[in-house]
């Protein structure tokens, strides 16, 4: 009985907890959301329901607040692409308990590894291309002590061509990496949205 008294909220307490849960949202939006619930209370009381019963039927205001926040943060991540936004959206989803971290983390880290490998490859290609180019054109003396096949160093035309092609391939792979990043980003947002549809029952 005592325990029940502790959990049972009245209107004021419910709205206060919800308000706290909505912190960080735009003021207008927060006011609008709270108004929906205030009207809900007013309608319920008009029907003869007690504040406590209305609260019980509404469910946990903390969970409801998290739901709004996840909704809005995922939306934000969808509209404005940034690492910060996507991380916030992911964290909000984890907090909601709808984001299956074990199931998702593996493939996600795998994809991240692929992306890092792609960028590392492109940087290595560009760097070696530049070095070969410098070595063969600007400083014909092999001052970097590169262990390139001898015939490459003997023929500056081939070295220049090699250097330029390496840079070009590197840039191409870099661009591909960026496209892959974007794709992963949109995939993540899509997945988060899909998860949001799985709204918790009681």
């Amino acid at each position: 009985m005592l325990l029940k008294e502790v959990i049972t909220l009245n209107k004021k307490e419910f709205l206060n907890v919800l308000k706290k849960g909505l912190s960080g949202l735009e003021k207008e939006e927060r006011k609008d959301i709270l108004l929906d619930y205030e009207i809900h209370f007013a309608e319920g009381i008009k029907q003869g329901k007690s504040e406590e019963l209305i609260c019980e039927d509404l469910g946990s205001p903390k969970e409801i607040g998290k739901l709004y926040k996840a909704n809005i943060l995922i939306d934000e991540a969808d509209k404005n692409i940034s690492t910060d936004n996507i991380l916030k959206a992911i964290m909000a989803s984890i907090g909601l308990g709808i984001f299956n971290i074990v199931l998702v983390l593996g493939p996600f880290l795998g994809l991240l590894g692929v992306v890092i490998a792609i960028f590392a490859t492109s940087i290595a290609l560009v760097t070696s291309g530049v070095v070969i180019f410098i070595d063969s054109v600007i400083m014909p003396i092999n001052f970097l002590y590169l262990y390139l096949p001898r015939y490459l160093m003997l023929n500056p035309t081939i070295s220049v061509f090699l250097g330029v092609s390496l840079v070009m391939i590197g840039v191409l792979i870099f661009v591909l990496g960026i496209f892959l990043c974007r794709w992963i980003y949109h995939l993540t947002v899509k997945y988060l949205k899909f998860n949001l549809k799985m709204i918790k029952g009681k």
């Binding site: 959301i33 929906d36 619930y37 205030e38 009207i39 809900h40 007013a42 309608e43 319920g44 008009k46 039927d57 509404l58 469910g59 946990s60 205001p61 969970e63 409801i64 739901l67 709004y68 909704n71 939306d75 949001l196 549809k197 799985m198 709204i199 918790k200 029952g201 009681k202």
Partner: protein, 107 residues
């Protein structure tokens, strides 16, 4: 009802009710909770999200007693989405029923 089942169908229920006619928040929540046990408070975030996505529009109507009521109206885009969701759901249920009935016959 199992929580897993309830998760996805809430959206479908909201669409179905609004296809029948405009509703204000409290009315809509009641229509759903009459039939399905859910935390009523989770319907409002759903309404807000679907409104933002352009599937519903809202308008205020003054009430004789108490605060004005916010009515939700389904848009053409929303109707399109609903038709799709409904078909998916019906074919899913039909499939599950087939499996269950076959299981009964085997017993």
């Amino acid at each position: 009802m199992n929580i897993q089942f309830k998760k996805g169908v809430l959206e479908l229920c909201v669409f179905a009710i609004l296809e029948d006619g405009d509703c204000y928040g409290y009315e809509l929540v009641n229509k759903i909770s009459e039939n399905i046990t859910i935390s009523e408070g989770t319907i409002y975030p759903l309404l807000r999200r679907l409104t933002k996505e352009g599937y519903f529009t809202t308008y205020l109507v003054e009430s004789s007693e108490g605060p004005p009521r916010k009515y939700y109206k389904i848009t053409d885009e929303g109707l399109e989405v609903y038709k799709n969701l409904k078909n998916q759901w019906l074919s899913f249920v039909e499939g599950v029923n087939h499996v269950i009935e076959r299981g009964d016959n085997l017993e």
